[in-house]
């Protein structure tokens, strides 16, 4: 069996829509600097291997890990690159976990880095290149290309999310006000987080509902921004972690599960999930990760959750599908303040992806923030003591879900 893995630190760079004052390497170094500052006894010479990743199609500069090697301090060290679209960060964190748990000789401490500098390129063009292979398969069915562009004019992640939102709203009978309430909570939380992008301490539900529709039922004020930013996490073994920091966070369960294609389906033959808000992948990933972590009653045992939700309807949907709330009850939980910072189960106290979205990095910022909440080092720290937390990730076109379950106690049952 693999070794027990612990997170000893996590760091972020400042996020903004255009970080034109730094290049990609300097941006990454900012996050590493913040990560290593929290563990004074660890230097670059203590790091044995590196895992990194971003989504190069979204920023237009390819194989960045080769020329930013020196900014990461990875010279003459093993370097692995992972790219899985929207979940890149989550997959990088899981790859960091696997690298440590594998028990290779001489590889104990691994630095995982995820980053994105979207202002360098055109993200819409990148998304189009991802979607084109899928769209073009409709030609087989005799649909010409001009027709397809009309059909999929919204395209990309928001197209998928709008379909999810319509069925979710139909199922739970909620209104746009409920969606706006989630946004207000997130953006107000972001105002207390130093690295977040959209900080709006005085946002109200009316402000959100005043903005025009991007695509019904999602309004401009509900949609995530496009940010530049980076995130770094330090993984190590149980023994070394105790020397490095006061409260090591143990990674007890990881999972990454994908659905069938969200809209067009395999071979362009339509999605086999008639209801887009069903999300079997999320349910399956939570089953996998919780069984590894020994979590039998997620609603009782999980103290803090960071879910990957660029759009407010997804935050409601994921919290249900990941077993945190009963089906169709999440809107009431947001209304009654259960998910607030001082609530029973705080969700996304960093502001979430809804406030900060540097695509490659955002799926790693979720487990990173969830780990910092256990350590008590988070920027917007919850007042209660957090023992167990989860961080999830979501990728658009295939509904790929990554999930990491963490705790301040190591899980030894299955080892």
């Amino acid at each position: 069996m693999g070794r027990q893995v612990a997170i000893v630190s996590a760091g972020f760079s400042e996020h903004a829509s255009k970080r034109s004052d730094v290049n990609m390497g300097e941006l990454v170094h900012e996050a590493i600097d913040d990560c290593l500052k929290k563990v004074p006894s660890v230097g670059f010479e203590d790091i044995d291997a590196y895992v990194n990743g971003n989504m190069p199609a979204f920023e237009g500069s390819n194989i960045p890990e080769l020329w930013i090697t020196d900014w990461m301090g990875a010279r003459n060290k093993p370097l692995l690159r992972v790219t899985t679209g929207g979940t890149t960060g989550g997959s990088v964190a899981i790859a960091g976990y696997y690298t440590v748990t594998a028990g290779l000789p001489g590889v104990d401490t691994v630095l995982a880095i995820a980053f994105e500098q979207q202002s360098q390129g055109d993200t819409s063009v990148g998304l189009a290149s991802v979607a084109y292979g899928e769209i073009s398969i409709l030609n087989t069915l005799g649909i010409s290309y001009d027709q397809i562009t009309r059909l999929l004019s919204a395209g990309a992640a928001i197209g998928v999310a709008a379909y999810q939102a319509t069925t979710y709203m139909n199922k739970t009978r909620i209104t746009e006000e409920d969606l706006a309430r989630v946004v207000v909570q997130n953006r107000r939380n972001a105002a207390k987080t130093w690295w977040a992008h959209l900080k709006m301490p005085n946002l109200t539900i009316e402000d959100v509902l005043d903005t025009p529709y991007v695509q019904y039922p999602l309004r401009y004020g509900m949609v995530c921004p496009a940010s530049d930013g980076a995130c770094a996490m330090l993984f190590t073994t149980e023994e070394k972690a105790k020397d490095m920091c006061d409260i090591p966070v143990y990674v007890n369960g990881v999972a990454s599960v994908a659905n069938e294609t969200a809209v067009l389906g395999y071979d362009g033959s339509g999605s086999a999930q008639v209801d887009p808000s069903m999300q079997l992948g999320a349910i399956r990933s939570s089953e996998l990760a919780y069984s590894q972590a020994g979590i039998s009653f997620p609603r009782k045992e999980i103290d803090y959750a960071e879910v990957y939700a660029p759009f407010p309807n997804q935050e409601l949907m994921w919290t249900e599908k990941l077993g945190l709330f009963e089906e169709a009850t999440a809107p009431q939980m947001y209304e009654s303040g259960v998910t607030a910072v001082n609530g029973e189960l705080p969700v996304n106290c960093s502001g979430g992806v809804n406030s900060t979205n540097a695509i490659g990095a955002s799926a790693m910022e979720r487990p990173a923030e969830a780990a910092l909440q256990i350590m008590g080092k988070a920027s917007n720290q919850v007042p209660k003591t957090v023992h167990t937390s989860i961080g999830s990730g979501w990728g658009g076109s295939l509904n790929l879900i990554t999930l990491m379950a963490m705790s301040d106690q190591p899980q030894r049952k299955w080892r």
Binding site: G142, Q147, L151, Q164, Q215, Q273, Q381
Partner: protein
């Protein structure tokens, strides 16, 4: 237990602007593509469309019916080889509304983008509604019927759009 680190102020982030930059004009014309697709497995489906008939293929392992036909059932890794007839009635499985700006007049047009679920099939498929249907009247589960175009070429475009049917399902009070 709260660490002192929590109160730490943000990094000293000062945004610097470059004073001297150079702008170089450049163009990047992407070439046209030629993709080849396998349509052997859906040839019966395309032929039947000319006769205003809809067929779908069924996985003999999990009994799911795929419309339009699929080469492989991803769940069972089995070739769906049974052909079944399905009806031309369908229901709206989900929808979203896109707001498109006309490049000439500048008017914003509302266009519903729907996924339809054909009766008798297990998949949903992308489609268009009748242009006269008011966007605000669209709802999940709305019954619709395929409207065939006059000249059919053996493709999914033979279904020009979907007409709205009268909804005879009883209203259920949900609270």
């Amino acid at each position: 237990m709260m660490s002192k680190m929590t109160q730490r102020k943000s990094l000293d982030y000062v945004k610097k602007d470059y004073v001297r930059t150079r702008t170089m004009p450049a163009n990047w014309h992407l070439t046209s593509y030629k993709y080849k697709f396998n349509i052997t497995h859906m040839q019966p489906f395309l032929d039947k469309l000319k006769e205003k008939k809809l067929v779908a293929n069924r996985c003999s392992s999990c009994n799911r019916v795929f419309y339009p036909p699929r080469l492989v059932c991803g769940k069972c890794l089995v070739k769906p080889d049974k052909w079944v007839d399905i009806r031309d009635t369908a229901s709206v499985s989900t929808y979203a509304i896109a707001y498109l700006k006309d490049p000439e007049t500048g008017d914003v047009v509302e266009r519903p983008m729907v996924l339809v679920h054909h009766d008798g099939s297990d998949t949903s498929n992308i489609a268009e509604l009748h242009p006269d249907i008011d966007v605000k009247d669209t709802y999940v589960g709305m019954p619709i019927k395929a409207h065939w175009s006059e000249e059919r070429s053996g493709g999914l475009m033979d279904i020009e759009y979907y007409d709205k049917l009268e909804d005879d399902s009883e209203d259920i009070e949900t609270k």
